[in-house]
Amino acid sequence: MVLATMLESGVSLEFYIILSTILFTIGVLGVLIRRNAIIILMCVELMLNAVNLLMAAFSTYHGTGDAQVFVFFIMVVAAAEATVGLSILVLLYRNRKTVDVGMFNKLKG
């Protein structure tokens, strides 16, 4: 191997757990503080990527490839989610001329 593995190098599993926790929280923060619907979708992608990173770390820790296969499935779902979400957003923009999530309140009781 060109690069040493995690266990050989001494980078602990905890490091990756904390890193992906922080990345996930940044995604949550973005969903909470941004009003632009496209940025909110991007922050969802960031959260999915944090989970992917955690999966890859555990895969390396246990020496099995199963978790990495699941990362592919997460990527599939993320791509499908992005396409459908963005087309819904384009449709919403055509009708309301804005992507501010605060303006999409027609269904509010």
Binding site: T5, V11, M42, S59, G63, V76
Partner: protein, 171 residues
């Protein structure tokens, strides 16, 4: 502290910083560009984790396909800094507090977690290579793999149908 540990720490810090910039930069295009940078840094993390194929796929799928889609939509909608919707400062403060509490709770919950001991085979494994992953994908996980293609078809048909400009679906 070994060299690889320092590399991992610096890489982690860069990933977190560019992730924060995605959230904090006010211009939407700048956000997209920082997100692409974040994906590249996450790919570097994958390489450090010995998941080479995953790193390539992450760049191709996320930075190459998904983010181009996001950029296209941003250009299409013609958003700029001026008409960027902003949350109120009270909302921002509350959201930052909530996110801070979330990270503290998660880290505190994970602090005392114990892990199953890693298998001996984990030393110097090469599970991340395309050969081993392909073997797994087409034997053990062949059914989910085929089902995911159905999901893709459904998403594609949905996207095409949604963006057809025919009649007003929403008021």
């Amino acid at each position: 502290m070994s060299t690889i540990e320092i590399v991992a720490l610096v890489l982690g810090a860069c990933t977190i910083a560019s992730g924060l910039m995605v959230v904090l930069s006010m211009h939407p295009v700048r956000s997209v560009l920082y997100l692409i940078l974040t994906f590249f840094l996450i790919s570097a993390n994958y390489i450090l984790l010995n998941a080479q194929f995953l790193a390539i796929v992450n760049i191709v799928v996320y930075a190459g396909a998904i983010m181009v889609l996001f950029l296209f939509v941003l250009m299409l909608l013609n958003l700029s800094r001026d008409n960027e919707p902003r949350a109120s400062s009270v909302m921002k403060l509350a959201a930052s507090l909530a996110a801070g509490v979330l990270v503290i709770v998660l880290v505190a919950a994970l602090k005392d977690a114990t892990f199953l001991p890693a298998a001996e085979a984990a030393q110097g494994n090469n599970q991340g290579l395309v050969e081993n992953l392909g073997q797994l994908l087409f034997t053990k996980y062949v059914l989910p793999f085929e089902v995911s293609s159905v999901l893709f078809i459904a998403a594609m048909v949905g996207a095409v149908l949604l963006s057809k400009k025919e009649k007003q679906i929403i008021d």
